[in-house]
Subunit: 336 residues, 2 copies
DNA sequence: TTGAAAGCGCTAACAG
DNA sequence: CTGTTAGCGCTTTCAA
């Protein structure tokens, strides 16, 4: 609980003025090597460290070399992978990363982003919750750079990095339709989430392309956990006229569906959105729509640091492609 | 790129002194409601936000309400889960979290921790790399609270939260020995990592308990990736006299071993350290030694915030238990 | 109830 | 090469 020594303490100990200490610390050449050595000894002896707050106060406009990253849920491997690449990109540029999870709550998003901004982050990478982002807008006006990732910024004039969720979902469902499935179950997360909306739209698109419509009783929205998804899946499978195939709207829900399928896994087709570890090792191996969270994070970081470096080009929207990884579960034919 | 308005701008706009603005901002009662209202209007109009650096400079000793969290690799689900609970615990206390990965490099650990300390974090939760932590020690002296998690602090006088790796590994290997296995392969991560050392020691303990020793040719250290682990596993399986069982020292390595086992999975027993998603869905389901990363994170956060709040009790070491989750792969008998 | 002056720890600008 | 002065944006102290 020692008091941090100040520059004055160092100056006194070295018998010089604070200016000289400042010069030594900032590596300015105009100091006699002998003096510099004396100062450095004093610094070491006292364990002096520059007071960052005072430094930034004086040399203002200096970046804090800190960015904020707000994801939906850090415990989700998808966001963890995204966060890890952002952190990598940041460290390469001598930046550190403040991290937070919104858990899909606008209130929490606002709280966390405000806390980040109070610490004067130079930029923010945000997986935005649906809703109004007035507070983000005011931060933008103050010069904080913002990039949205995974979901668009809902009217916010900022760069964003997205995945072609709708097309990828459509292609996946078309893959099932092509194999003769008609009764395809849809298992979705909360409808308020943009990516989920897109994937559901793609699900409907695939049907529309064939001039048909999904069976309403096979569409289940709103499962937020693996267990909830398992329950909804079980309910679908227990229908008098159950689905012959399932499309699940994210990794957690895919896991829940797998839980519920159990010994029916080789009879009901399944395509899940999101790659997950060991998908290739299950029986049958699981066909998925694979996104690349690392690419999302890396691209977002690249855009953000370009803006921080002064890039003032028009707002960009980068769309990354997801790809269908065919493994077996999606190729199970409907019963004849 | 607007310049942030200062308190003086607000004071000017409201026709008062900066002191009055300061009082309004800090909610001091001694301000005429009418004046306060005028000031508040000006604040809103200019989009004023208090300059945190200046504030902390003046009211010194104020906490930054920021902690740093350094894990080995954020992309690893184990550390992601740990990080998520730390972040939760922090937010409950109005704290934000700076995050970083060391990737098992002492240099990176030092760089990241230094960067955190330069931002005056109130505390650090660290998964320490092996080696000397002199720089951490100097931070400790300056009053920064530190808690080590997952691995001990190597002589650092700080609280730590660990898992009984050695005992858990011994029990797992004993489980294999009890079922008649003698040729048990060991697949390890880098030996420099404390947890890995402990698990290897437990592996040897189990043999020692039966008065035997592991087969040296079946022990392979140093695989740092899933692919490397798969290669080493394949090499073991291709020996003239291959192992009848495998013990893998963490999740990544377990996955690699599973890759390599492929169609031999129902003939070679396997117990892996670390739980992983879908372990129960593989064929055969995988017996694991399960740790609880959320409990590690929560406990570490609890200890850290207690210290930050002024707890000066003697250094504590909390040991959490890992437990053997029996699923099938670990119960495959040796060929007769 | 409000304001003026001083100073937190540091550095820019100028002297010497 | 080194020191002095002033002031970053804010709050403390004291006076009005």
């Amino acid at each position: 609980m020692t008091v941090r020594p100040t520059m004055r303490d160092v100056a006194q100990a070295a018998g010089v003025s604070t200016m000289t200490v400042s010069r030594v610390i900032n590596g300015e050449p105009a100091v006699l090597p002998e003096t510099a050595a004396r100062v450095e000894r004093a610094i070491r002896r006292l364990g002096y460290q520059r007071n960052d707050a005072a430094w930034r106060l004086r040399r203002k406009g200096q970046p804090t070399l800190t960015i904020g990253l707000l994801v939906d849920d850090l415990a989700n491997p998808f966001f963890a992978a995204l966060a890890a690449t952002v952190e990598d990109a940041a460290r390469l540029r001598n930046y550190v990363v403040l991290i937070g999870s919104s858990n899909d709550s606008l209130r929490r998003e606002r709280e966390v982003v405000s806390a980040f901004c109070a610490r004067q982050v130079d930029g923010l990478i945000v997986v935005p919750v649906v809703g109004s982002h007035r507070f983000l807008r005011s931060q933008l006006a103050l010069g904080t750079k913002v990039v949205c990732v995974d979901r668009p910024g809902n009217g916010l004039p900022v760069d964003s990095v997205l995945v072609d969720n709708r097309i990828a979902a459509r292609d996946a469902v078309r893959h099932l339709l092509d194999r003769g499935h008609r009764r395809i179950g849809y298992l979705g997360d909360r409808e308020s989430i943009w990516t989920i909306q897109q994937r559901y739209a793609g699900f409907r698109d695939a049907f529309a392309d064939t001039g048909t419509e999904p069976e309403p009783e096979l569409v289940r929205h709103g499962s937020r956990t693996r267990a909830a998804a398992a329950e909804l899946t079980a309910a679908l499978l227990n229908l008098p006229h159950p689905p012959t195939a399932l499309f699940t709207s994210n990794d957690l829900i895919t896991l829940g569906a797998i839980d519920a399928l159990a010994d029916k896994a080789d009879r009901v087709a399944l395509i899940g959105f999101d790659e997950f570890a060991l998908a290739d090792k299950l029986t049958p191996p699981v066909t998925v729509v694979a996104q690349d969270p690392a690419a999302l994070g890396a691209t977002a970081a690249q855009l953000l640091f370009a803006r921080i470096a002064g890039d003032t080009s028009p707002v960009r929207e980068v769309i990354l492609r997801a790809r269908l990884v065919i493994r077996g579960s999606g190729e199970i034919p409907p019963p004849t």
